[in-house]
């Protein structure tokens, strides 16, 4: 079987599908610290792509509350129960990925969700890790915690869905690394549903095919960010491309945050699919939980994020989140502004580090009204 380097694991690994790396890799940074679980992303996605009959329970984008939430229910716990406990040593994964220790007659390690696992998209929403004791809310910071995890398809570099499909109906695009299910070719075997560790392939019982997040490829082809990224009112998301064929570019905001500053981390890297949604870990959550979820670099990522106010370059990259619907290919901090350009070199974002302040007169002479803070 082919050996592939997985930089997220610090080592080579076996991957049962022989395909070259794409020219570039679609990738996202999600700042968990800023997500408020408004679900605008989920609605934007669902309205556009999955409002059909048979897609009632399909959420290519969902936001769940950790530690107890998950859609479908227990998607990650069920795989972790089956898999070897993740073991890291010096940034290198020592345990087996879902592709390793498998016979040539076996698909990647996975589990088929129960139909009822899709019945409660918001189970566990807003629930804390433990109950707040009486009077405890007077005592400063709480030890209990929760956070919101916004999830889409990871458009993995080594996708389990691609490896699992027995008829090559799932493919990874060479031009941008987006993973798609060929809706003409799919025969509804659901092997991708079973194999995807993130459970982002869904079965449509009307179309009788499996469907997955299409990475808003018609928009990406026009240089525009995905709908979930555009719709995000908290501006927690950055959408762009990671370099795959050359060294990371310091002026590419994705390369810069993910590969150079390492402030954003992949979700469950130990599964071995090299996922491409990178999360800035929530700073208030215990490290042990985060390390299980984001790997061994959590401490450094947290420290990096907490140093943001002193790092103008990184802060500049962060200010591009939600700044424009165009995908930012290149950025530069100039004076008190960060400037972003698209792949054609057109300026698409210019964001000041400090928003200017305007003081308006109490009386609006034009409209002949007094301004109140209620108008």
């Amino acid at each position: 079987m082919p050996e592939r380097n997985n930089w997220q694991l610090g080592r080579d690994m076996t991957y049962p599908y022989d395909a070259p790396l794409p020219q570039k890799q679609v990738a996202y940074v999600f700042d968990i610290n800023k997500c408020i679980d408004c679900q605008t992303c989920s609605v934007a996605c669902k309205n556009a792509w999955t409002s059909g009959k048979g897609e009632e329970y399909v959420f290519w984008n969902n936001v769940e509350t950790k530690p107890y939430g998950g859609y479908p229910i227990g998607w990650d716990l069920k795989l972790m129960e089956k898999a070897e406990l993740a073991k890291w040593k010096g940034g290198k994964l020592e345990s087996k990925t879902i592709f390793e220790d498998r016979s040539p007659l076996e698909s990647p390690l996975g589990h088929m969700p129960n139909t009822m696992d899709y019945s409660a998209p918001n189970l566990g929403e807003d629930e804390l890790s433990q109950a707040v004791g009486q009077g405890e809310h007077f005592n400063g910071l709480h030890p209990m915690w929760m956070f919101y995890l916004a999830r889409i398809c990871n458009h993995c570099t080594l996708p389990a869905c691609v490896a699992a499909c027995p008829r090559q109906a799932v493919y990874k695009r060479d031009e941008d690394g987006i993973v798609l299910i060929d809706q003409e070719r799919c025969r509804g075997y659901q092997e991708c549903v079973k194999a995807c560790p993130y459970k982002k392939a869904f079965y449509n019982l009307i179309s009788r095919t499996s469907e997955k997040c299409i990475g808003c490829y018609p928009r990406v082809e026009q240089g525009e960010v995905a709908l979930c990224v555009e719709a995000c009112i908290g501006k927690i998301r950055l959408h762009g491309f990671l370099s795959t064929q050359e060294e990371p570019r310091a002026d590419n905001p994705l390369d810069y945050l993910v590969k150079i500053k390492k402030v954003a981390l992949p979700l469950y890297p130990q599964f071995g699919t090299s996922p491409n949604v990178y999360y800035i870990p929530p700073v208030h959550v215990p490290n042990a939980f985060l390390e299980q979820m984001f790997g061994p670099s959590v401490l450094q990522a947290k420290a990096m994020y907490q140093s943001l106010k002193d790092d103008k370059q990184m802060l500049g990259a962060m200010m591009l989140f939600g700044a424009n619907i165009r995908i930012v290919d290149k950025f530069k901090v100039e004076g008190d502004e960060v400037i972003g350009w698209d792949a054609k070199g057109t300026e698409v974002a210019r964001v000041p580090f400090t928003e200017p302040t305007y003081v308006r007169e109490h009386y609006d002479a034009k409209h002949k009204v007094y301004r109140h803070n209620t108008t």
């Binding site: 040539p104 698909s107 088929m112 070719r185 019982l205």
Partner: protein
């Protein structure tokens, strides 16, 4: 994975070829009838037609392999009137599985004929390059249900499901397929249908599909089909008939000849056990004698 690099597959294939060379294969006698051919699986004529037992084995040559077989034989019969041929296949199945949902699969059966001399019974061979082409005629319990009881809707598997809005759907909730979705704009969300996927058909005329294959993972539905089929589950047993003309002008159809000794293979999927795709039971080539 490139199959030609898969040593276990080659080993299994070598084993199979050895097995097939030495196997005592059944002979199915295709019986000539005068008058109309029975296209009902329960027609009285089948009681007088010789039936041959055919062994089916779990698919264990490629992934995903079937580790838990649930059927080990099918009964095969065939009749011809000199113009058409009807194949009847039956197998034991305690329960009829007709519906689909996540993790839920229907029963199915297929018959296969070689379109090339080097075609192996297991979908013609391993790789596209090394295989001979085969024709496969596939019947699925879900499609039989679509025809007998109407297209499987969401409420057939989730009786309490409710959604107030489907874009451009007409009429009252619960909207049903295909009745509420006459406006072509509403089909924008039926992507597989829009892409021309022959599995995503809302008004189906037959519960069977003609396909060709040339190696594993290459199965391809045919745009034209000369086959009619019908399956009936009764008393713990599925009985399915496939009828088609002996000859057609389609190069992807097997052409039956009078007096020939031909080869047929069978595959069975038990939905209850999660069988679908490669998770199936399949047979060796089985000889049949045309009248």
């Amino acid at each position: 994975m490139k199959m030609n690099q898969c040593k276990p597959c080659q080993a299994s294939l070598a084993f199979l070829l050895t097995f097939s060379a030495g196997a005592a294969v059944a002979d199915i006698t295709v019986t000539k009838v005068e008058g109309a051919l029975p296209t009902d699986p329960m027609a009285a004529e089948w009681q007088q037609t010789p039936a041959e037992k055919v062994i089916v084995m779990p698919q264990t040559m490629t992934k995903p392999s079937l580790t838990t077989p649930s059927v080990n034989e099918v009964m095969a019969q065939a009749l011809t009137d000199g113009k058409s041929i009807v194949w009847r296949v039956s197998w034991q199945d305690a329960e009829a599985d007709l519906n689909v949902d996540v993790g839920r699969f229907p029963d199915a059966v297929a018959i296969e004929f070689p379109l090339a001399e080097n075609a192996l019974p297991m979908m013609g061979g391993v790789t596209r390059e090394s295989s001979g082409k085969v024709q496969i005629i596939y019947w699925k319990g879900l499609w039989q249900k679509d025809i007998d009881e109407g297209f499987q809707g969401v409420r057939d598997v989730h009786p309490n499901a409710f959604s107030s809005k489907y874009w451009f759907a007409e009429g009252e909730t619960p909207h049903t397929v295909p009745e509420s979705f006459k406006n072509p704009l509403s089909h924008q969300w039926f992507i597989a249908k829009q892409a021309g996927n022959p599995g995503a058909v809302f008004t189906r005329s037959q519960p069977a599909q003609e396909l060709v294959a040339k190696g594993w993972g290459t199965i391809t539905p045919q745009p034209e089909s000369a086959t009619t089929a019908k399956g009936v589950w009764k008393d713990g047993k599925w009985t399915v008939v496939f009828s088609r003309p002996l000859t057609t002008d389609d190069p992807n159809d097997y052409q039956f000849k009078a007096g020939e000794k031909g080869q047929i293979a069978f595959a069975v999927w038990q939905g209850k056990n999660g069988n679908r795709g490669a998770l199936k039971h399949w047979s060796n080539w089985t000889a049949y004698q045309m009248p």
